[in-house]
């Protein structure tokens, strides 16, 4: 639910049955208003039936496979970049050993280059955290759609999806520490503060 609270789900079967019951009771002469109402009820019945069919169609392969597969692909991205980063670091450490055998400007240039590579390799941490946020969002979407399917009582078998950490966390907000509540990962460009701004902020406390 948008406001985060839990409300009883609409019972599609009951709505449909009510519409059919009303339609069945309407016979004989109809006024213009009654005819209009009949039209509205028929449209409502069709909408409910179509919604049920569409929700049922979301199950099985689409949710049972696609979202977990997407999560696995993203996990694989993190794993591959970690492997590649560690290989780069292996090479850098080899270059640093080589640097020890060199003198003067060449050694200094090599050292500077290696430092810049170390700095650049921290991308793996940032991208890993960003991808982790995307995976958590996917799992939340998956859980919510499964909950809607369950509410509408579709007959199709559904994959059992573990509750995502985000959902669990939402139910236990009171138990979270300040450190956990403020742990949101990297901010989007422009949303966070720069190192210079942080330095000024910290200085303002002195």
């Amino acid at each position: 639910m948008p406001d985060g609270t839990s409300h009883p789900a609409p019972d599609a079967d009951r709505i449909e049955a009510a519409v059919r019951q009303v339609l069945g009771s309407l016979n004989g002469d109809l006024t213009v208003k009654e005819a209009a109402l009949l039209g509205e009820l028929e449209a409502l019945g069709r909408t409910v039936s179509r919604a049920k069919a569409e929700i049922a169609a979301l199950g099985g392969q689409q949710l049972g496979e696609h979202i977990p597969a997407a999560s696995d692909e993203l996990d694989a991205v993190v794993s591959h970049t970690a492997t590649a980063t560690n290989e780069i670091l292996d090479v850098c450490e080899g270059l640093e050993r080589l640097q020890g055998t060199l003198d003067g400007a060449v050694a200094e240039a090599l050292g500077t280059a290696v430092t810049r590579i170390y700095e650049a390799c921290s991308f793996q941490d940032i991208t890993g955290q960003r991808i982790g946020k995307v995976v958590a969002a996917l799992k939340t979407i998956e859980a919510r759609i499964n909950a809607v399917q369950s509410d509408f009582g579709t007959d199709q078998p559904r994959a059992v999806v573990p509750a995502p950490a985000v959902v669990i966390a939402a139910t236990a907000v009171a138990a979270r520490t300040e450190g956990e509540r403020l742990a949101n990962g990297p901010a989007l460009p422009g949303a966070g503060v720069s190192q210079d701004e942080i330095d000024r902020l910290l200085a303002s406390f002195d």
Binding site: E96, T115, Q124, D125, G179, L182, A187, S194, I198, F205
Partner: protein
């Protein structure tokens, strides 16, 4: 500045631990130990003698901020310089860290010069 001191670096990304360790080595800090979360770090801090802690924020089961609070609440560890290196770059994070007693705060991605500058600053004031 005593560069022979023991430094504890805390991060749940092994690659990040390796990068920070190598950058510290370039700054001539060679006595570096590692922990992968706040709880492990606290155990090492209580069992050892560290002159500087460099910690990430976003870790489980204990975050860097919670580690910082534990360190400041521990009479023996309370004065240990503590630098947060994190991707958490919201103002509220910086304020919370400062309120908890952080010595300095570095936002990821960072460069070697920023690391050197902040370490020198906190150790001079330690």
């Amino acid at each position: 500045m005593d560069k022979t001191m023991n430094v504890l670096i805390v991060d749940d990304y092994k690659t990040m631990l390796r990068i920070i360790r190598n950058l510290l080595k370039q700054l001539d800090f060679n006595n570096v130990d590692e922990a992968s979360d706040g709880a492990e770090a606290l155990s090492k801090l209580r069992g050892g003698n560290f002159g500087l802690v460099i910690s990430d924020w976003n870790m489980a089961p204990m975050t860097g901020l919670d580690l910082l609070k534990e360190v400041r609440a521990d009479q023996r560890l309370a004065r240990t310089p503590f630098i947060m290196i994190t991707a958490e770059s919201k103002t509220e994070n910086v304020i919370a860290a400062k309120a908890a007693g952080v010595s300095n705060y570095i936002v990821k991605p960072f460069n070697a010069e920023t690391l050197r500058e902040k370490i020198e600053k906190v150790l001079v004031h330690a």
